[in-house]
Amino acid sequence: MFLLQLKYETLRLLRSPMLWLLLVFLAVSVGFGAYNGVRRIAAKRQSVGEMLAQQQEDLGKQKMQADSVARGLKKVGGWYLDPTNVIVVGGVWRGGWVTAFEPAPQSLLAAGMSDLQPDAWRLTLMGKDARGDSEFENPVNLAFGTFDLSFVLAFLLPLLVIALSFNLVSGEREQGTLALQWAQPVATGRLFLMKTLARFTLLAALTLLVTLPILTWSGISLANAAAWQTAGLAVLYSLFWFLLALGVNLRGGSSAQNALLCVGAWLLFTLVVPALVNMVSEKAHPVPSRASYLNEMRDADAYLEAQKKTVLDVFYQKHPNYTRKSEAEKEWQDWYREDFAVMDFDKKFRDSLEQRYIAPAESQSDFAENLTLLSPALSVHRQMTDLAGTSQQAYKASEKSLDASQKNWASFFLKKFEANENLTTADYDVILKFPDKVMAANVSGSSKGAFWLAVQCLLVGFWAWWSGRRLHRA
């Protein structure tokens, strides 16, 4: 009976001009979203490629100069211009090593935070500085947001599902065909179940038919799990809206009432609830403006300067091999040795100040994420940005691996600094092979969005069943 129903539903829908119109609309939207994603990745790769190519070129030239200096063929105007000097190359003010985020093919799925986060970091001996095209992003573009696949899936796909299912039962009733179906020598419940299943199968097939080829065209091969996860998410999300339309239909209203209710639910779940969640999160966990942070950092400079003497006392006690010198006697090595000696203390203190801003921002974000259950659009947004590796969490995870890289970078130079050694061309060969790309980190628990969506499907399914029972009793 299922196949019969499927055939009947297919034929019926294929004759509907609305279906073709909606299919074209969905295909164009998915295509445009994917195209924008492809362009976004290409722009990121170009930007990152330029930075890294420039770095290779500069260091290549510097290596030649270092060779000339080491052989005594070239003189430099001071230690701060010496290409064999560890501070100059390792980087405090200049120098350092640029390491970039490499966008994965699936990052086209969702722009997420990619237009606000840095594309690369300059690793130095004392930390890391961000850089990237987000510095030059037009605020108007950021405010409106981009047209990506995540937007198509979260906002536009439900409209297609609603348009094809808002009159699932009411349409039959209004045309008078429902009574005819119930007159068939088959259990009503079974007939209805098969019809519903057939309609959803058709919807799911259409979703896959549109999604998978476009994903493949845009560079996410079918061998990539992200393609199937995205398609699966689209089908699951379609199921949510289908069950919701079914539940609305089972309340027994007219097609016009059903359409209004379904659209009302869409509005509630995709626009109102996310905006409310953000507002409530902002209220529950206010994040202080960074304006005061900068002033605090200025005060911290004064405090740390005052503490420096005490920290250095401990350092010189622990390292009797170094002689403490007066300011007039100090060479550049002595200045930097003291800077490195107080570096950890400084960082710890500054990090503790920064935590006053980061901690509330994280609490706000966690609070909002805990409200994911309230809207399937939030679940989809979360899953898509996690899959794409463009979520805030993904950037934070990637930053941790960058911190590890920074430590490796710094330790290479600090060992030489302590041994009072200069860099050789062999050292340059090692430096030039230092990893300069970090892949977007996999977010742990990256199926959380899909999990919440499954729970939402169960809840709406239960509601649809309850509506059906109530109608049956009535």
Binding site: L116, L142, F147, L271, A275, M279, A361, A368
Partner: protein, 470 residues
């Protein structure tokens, strides 16, 4: 007859359950948005004002130092928060709110609020502008999608036409009735919205801006009233009218603004980080470097200055050469930074032209542009703030270099200035563009809005004229 139809339309709308439900929901959301947004605005305003005062105190109370060292120590300026930003936050979350000013460098502003927020923050925050711009049109659609279609479907249209009612009269009556229902909700919203201005004690300028904002939103609602009536008359069937109106809303409020972003970025890409910084670096090399005496341009300037003053050494100049060359370097650096910022601004302006072009299909984009401009939260005010900050940087560094040039002896790098001197340095006092100065830039989009209103109205009348009874 127009008023009879309008009266009947209004009464039937007010009687319906969907008006009551939609009005209650929308009112709840509007009030919530107002309270939430005002709370956020007042906290942020206080923090920025305090930060600005602290930054000035830090500048005045910095330890005694050479004026040029003070120029490197630098200071911070903070973007002011304007009274109407509780109504429309505009691009505020996406612009850096802090700018570091120092010698030789023109920094980008830092710390965009949105950078630190969670992923969901990109889906929008409930503000009064969000409720009026995004949700209120849906209220209009829900009330008006059946205006013409229902009359046609239930046979009333035939009766009305038989009684000699002209289609245009029917349009005006339906339109007025819908306006009545819209105003029944919009007027209390507008009055409640003014509460924020009252509490913050904003001056007359902001009240005038608010009045203009309200006129803008009324015109925007008018566009949606016309569109809803147009689609209702065009389709002649309630269910198709509803789907059609919603489709148009999705296009206007969701698709057009985002699609415009992608088209703008693809047509007029901003420079990459590398190319922008490489161009600045290259241009900086073609001028005086105040910190490098061996620089060719510095040497040429030295030769020219010695010739001009008829002396053989910079030590014999009637001023301190070190301060003079530092200022010359600063002037060259400022020229380079301003040149590249102007180029970047040109790209932004080209991108914004694409956004404005999207207004042809989307009065939502148009309303957004005007509403943000009136609230002082649009990108032009932000750029104006950046330009003012840059002018202040040049002025402040100029004062410090001037002190070094005129009141320090050559080679005196140990000389210092203290609180008495730093307290006399200029203060940053940014005044945003006044409403009268904005009139020029408001004229074109406001005219576009009126054209939208007029054309949608004329098109609706046209379709009412074509409306045929069942």
């Amino acid at each position: 007859m127009v008023f009879t139809i309008a009266n009947q339309e209004l009464r039937s709308i007010l009687r319906e359950g969907r008006f009551k439900t939609a009005a209650i929901l929308l009112s709840g959301l509007f009030l919530l948005s107002l309270v939430g947004a005002f709370d956020y605005y007042s906290a942020l305003k206080k923090q920025h004002e305090e930060a600005a005062q602290t930054a000035r105190k830090q500048w005045e109370n910095q330890e005694d130092k050479n004026p040029h060292s003070a120029a490197h120590y630098g200071t911070y300026v903070f973007k002011p928060i304007y009274p109407l930003s509780y109504f429309d936050r505009g691009v505020d979350a996406f612009t850096g709110n802090t700018l570091f000013l120092e010698a030789h460098r023109s920094h980008q502003s830092k710390f965009k609020t949105a950078e630190e927020r969670g992923d969901f923050a990109r889906l929008g925050v409930l503000t009064p502008a969000f409720v009026l711009g995004m949700l209120f049109p849906l209220f209009i659609i829900v009330l008006g999608f059946g205006s013409a279609a229902a009359e046609r479907e239930n046979g009333n249209l035939r009766l009305l036409l038989a009684q000699g009612v002209r289609p245009s009269t029917l349009f005006w009556g339906k339109s007025l009735g819908l306006w009545g229902a819209v105003l029944a909700l919009a007027i209390p919203f507008f009055m409640a919205g003014a509460g924020g201005l009252l509490v913050s004690g904003a001056g007359g300028e902001h009240w005038l801006r608010y009045a203009c904002t309200l006129l803008l939103y009324l015109a925007y609602f008018g566009c949606f009233i016309h569109l809803t009536l147009l689609i209702s008359a065009w389709t002649g069937r309630q269910s198709v009218s509803l789907v059609g109106s919603l489709g148009v809303w999705v296009l206007i409020c969701l698709i057009a603004p985002k699609a415009a972003v992608n088209v703008a970025k693809q047509q007029y890409p901003a420079p990459t980080w590398q190319s922008y910084n490489a161009s600045i670096k290259a241009d900086l090399k073609n001028g005086v470097d105040g910190h490098d005496a061996a620089d060719a341009y510095t040497e040429r300037l030295e030769k020219e200055t010695l010739q001009k003053y008829g002396v053989d050494s910079v030590q014999h100049l009637p001023f301190n050469w070190a301060g003079f060359v530092m200022q010359k370097g600063e002037e060259h650096e400022t020229y380079v930074f301003q040149k590249h910022k102007a180029e970047l601004l040109k790209v932004y302006q080209q991108q914004q032209q694409v956004h404005q072009a999207a207004a042809v299909v989307s009065p939502f984009v148009l309303t957004g542009i005007l509403s943000q401009r009136l609230a002082g939260t649009d990108v032009d005010v932000y750029f104006d703030f950046l330009a003012a900050a840059e002018r202040y940087r040049i002025q402040l560094v100029g004062e410090l270099n001037g002190e070094l040039t005129n009141n320090f002896k050559y080679g005196d790098w140990d000389g210092k200035r203290g609180k008495a001197f730093f307290a006399k340095n200029s203060q940053f006092d940014y005044q945003p563009p006044t409403l009268s100065s904005l009139l020029g830039s408001l004229g074109k989009p406001a005219a576009a809005m009126l054209i939208w209103l007029l054309i949608s109205g004329l098109a609706a009348i046209l379709f009412f004229n074509k409306l045929k009874p069942v």
